[in-house]
């Protein structure tokens, strides 16, 4: 019959550590019953779910083929490796780690080049002067081609680069590069600078679903359960719980708190005795507690949340919406 429900997880590096932390926070304990070197594993207490460990780039291929249901990988790789990515996969959620921008960078000495329009002009002038095209070193061949086409740049050649792309201009292998950067420090250290409007993609690790995988009712049930816990953890991360009780706690105060601090009142307004439970973004907690005490509260208790389960599940809704939209040809 069909393959078991499988989640592909990065097998090495920072991405793996972050992925494991991400699952652990959602209450999923990733296990490798046959030892740490094994590339097949599971989730404790969820025998129906398999975990497959692969490189981030292989995960994209597996998603495109539909041989796994979910995968954790970088959006940059998905968009590079799959043409028309949205037709093959569904981006369920950005995970808040693995941030990197894919950018166009040129030598700092090109003080006349600030924008992609400059680069367009320089590319054509370069071709006419040197009777060859400017070379762009990158591993993001498709992203580069599409971005350059949008900006009308035609006079360039891509030089495929497997590693240390930022060293290519100094080595004379290319005139400019397209690469990922987080802070720009590596670019600067190699005498390069970003083009101002040259950010091709702001990427992060994503939870991605494969359209081509088997999506029967059994698989959807599993997906709903997994996403329920991930969503509950995500909501919990977004808020701290703030509790108080005082006589003058009323709806007007609640309205003010909602307006000023983006709080939610998941269990309704103040009770007759003035009991109130609020969910407040962590950055506003202190200001909220100050307001509550100004209005008469003697004590305000704040706790971190473990999970916030809701009737609606935005992540599962995203999966369902993706699966029911125009399917693959």
């Amino acid at each position: 019959m069909s393959q078991p429900f499988t989640i592909a997880v990065p097998s090495k590096g920072r991405l793996q550590e972050n992925a494991e932390t991400f699952f652990a926070r959602a209450g999923f304990d990733l296990i490798k019953p046959r030892g740490a070197r094994d590339y097949r594993g599971g989730i404790a207490g969820l025998p129906a779910v398999g975990v497959a460990y692969h490189s981030a780039s292989e995960i994209v291929d597996l998603l495109a083929q539909g041989s796994v249901h979910f995968g954790l990988t970088g959006e940059d790789l998905v968009r590079e490796q799959i043409a028309d990515a949205e037709e093959q996969i569904i981006f369920i959620d950005g995970l808040g780690f693995g941030h990197a921008n894919v950018v166009v960078a040129v030598p700092q000495a090109w003080i006349d080049v600030r924008s992609m329009a400059d680069l367009d002009d320089v590319a054509t002038a370069f071709r006419i002067k040197h009777e060859r095209k400017m070379r762009v070193a990158t591993k993001y061949i498709n992203l580069t081609r599409n971005f350059f086409a949008v900006h009308g740049i035609a006079d360039y050649r891509i030089v495929e680069s497997a590693g240390a792309t930022e060293a290519a201009p100094a080595a004379g292998i290319a005139e400019l590069i397209v690469d990922i950067t987080t802070t720009g420090a590596t670019l600067a250290a190699n005498g390069l600078k970003m083009i101002e409007d040259g950010v091709i993609l702001r990427s992060q690790a994503n939870l991605v679903a494969a359209r081509a995988a088997q999506w029967g009712s059994a698989e959807r049930d599993i997906a709903r359960g997994v996403l329920d816990r991930i969503a509950a953890r995500k909501s919990a991360n977004a808020f701290h719980e703030v509790r108080t009780r005082f006589a003058r706690c009323d709806d007007a105060l609640l309205a003010e708190a909602k307006q000023r601090f983006e709080v939610e009142a998941p269990f309704g307004g103040p009770t007759s005795s003035g009991m109130l439970t609020l969910h407040c973004p962590p950055r506003h907690v202190h200001a909220l507690a100050s307001l509550l005490r100004e209005k008469g509260a003697d004590h305000v208790a704040v706790v971190e949340l473990e999970y916030v389960f809701s009737r609606t599940n935005a992540l599962y809704a995203a999966l369902e919406a993706g699966l029911s939209s125009v399917s693959r040809p």
Partner: protein
């Protein structure tokens, strides 16, 4: 699976050989570099690419113009007039929108080294028409353009070099430059307020002063020269920019002129007359390009082609940046198949870019075998 080898194709090739063209069969596996260099990176997504053990990028040939050109350059007779014909499969990834076959057959002719430009141009269109007739299509729609005319116009206009480069490049990559003129602007100037002082200081100065200024700017900023472009090139571009002045958009009267030029279309003789009048009014010198257009039309008529059937348009291009002069396409008047049946043009700059030390004139065309065969049912 491919349908091609059929007796009709062999008789087509035999007719090319009788016309004096040497039959060649370049290898199917080709170095990918020349295609990417000459047709642009955009063709990459249409190519079947692979890598050999030494890491060289190879491809299944997506057309035969470049392979035949390379064979000519390697033949030892480069520079001398020589014509070639070919028949064989080419490989392109189907477009996502339209689908289609990934392997199909092309026949064609490439003619190198002839100095009688107008006659050689006319012969290509005539042979292209014969190829269509060979498959039973005696009166295809003939679309024709001439990139030499647009180049001559741009050269004659009083415009900054940056504008000239931009216009030529965009003409090659957009068949509808006219609609695009609105959006065209060189954004660089506004974006560079902080260099405005540099630019006005440079306005009217000479390259040496500009060179010295850029050298100073770089050394003040502590930038060691790195990568590809020399200080001189950067200085030259600052001079270009200074010459552009404050206006980042195309001057209104120039734009109107270009639009009027690109609106010229019709039978070649009428178009030529209209362009003569245009050149007089606008006081731009287009004579050599117009002489060639008229002379070519004369050769076509002499070959018995009814030139009134030709739809000539100054705005017609083929979207490939190696064409330099004549471009043409033949289409089915009843539109039973999508796309051109025969197409070609002049590409005088290609052989230099493939490594020839001297420029060698070149003109040719390709025949889409399956499309023509499909018309016959």
């Amino acid at each position: 699976m491919s349908v091609a080898p059929a007796p009709r194709n062999d008789t087509l090739l035999a007719s090319f050989e009788r016309a004096g063209y040497l039959r060649v069969a370049p290898s199917i596996l080709q170095p990918a570099g020349p295609f990417l260099d000459l047709s642009g990176e955009d063709i990459r997504k249409r190519m079947y690419l692979t890598t050999d053990a030494q890491g060289r990028e190879l491809c299944l040939r997506p057309d035969l113009t470049i392979p035949v050109s390379r064979e000519y350059l390697a033949s030892g007779g480069a520079g001398r007039p020589q014509g070639y014909c070919y028949l064989g499969p080419v490989f392109r990834q189907p477009r996502a929108e339209t689908g289609g076959a990934s392997e199909f057959w092309q026949a064609g002719i490439e003619s190198f080294g002839r100095m009688d430009t107008a006659a050689a141009d006319a012969e290509m269109l005539a042979l292209g028409l014969e190829a269509a007739a060979h498959f039973g299509l005696s009166e295809p729609i003939i679309r024709m353009g001439d990139l030499g005319l647009f180049s001559a116009l741009v050269a004659a206009l009083k415009l900054a070099p940056a504008w000239k480069r931009r216009l030529i490049k965009d003409f090659n990559h957009k068949s509808s430059l006219a609609q695009d003129l609105d959006r065209l602007s060189i954004g660089a100037i506004q974006a560079q307020a902080e260099y405005q002082g540099v630019l006005s200081a440079l306005a009217g100065s000479d390259p040496r002063a500009a060179h010295a200024l850029v050298t100073d700017l770089l050394s003040i900023a502590g930038i060691a020269a790195v990568g590809g472009r020399s200080v001189g090139e950067i200085a030259d571009r600052f001079l270009d920019q200074a010459a552009l002045g404050a206006s980042a958009t195309l001057p209104g009267e120039t734009r109107a002129l270009i639009e009027r030029f690109l609106a010229v279309a019709g039978e070649p003789d009428d178009a030529a007359a209209e362009l003569r009048a245009f050149a007089r009014d606008a006081n731009v010198a287009l004579d050599p390009a117009l002489d060639l257009l008229e002379s070519r039309t004369g050769f076509l008529a002499a070959r018995g082609i009814d030139v009134r059937r030709i739809h000539f348009s100054t705005a017609f291009g083929r979207g490939l940046d190696y064409y330099t002069g004549l471009v043409f396409e033949l289409h089915d008047p009843r539109a039973r198949v999508a796309g051109q049946l025969v197409a070609g043009g002049r590409y005088d700059a290609l052989l230099t870019r493939l490594g020839s030390a001297t420029p060698i004139p070149a003109v040719g065309f390709s025949v889409w075998i399956e499309r023509l065969a499909q018309l016959q049912g």
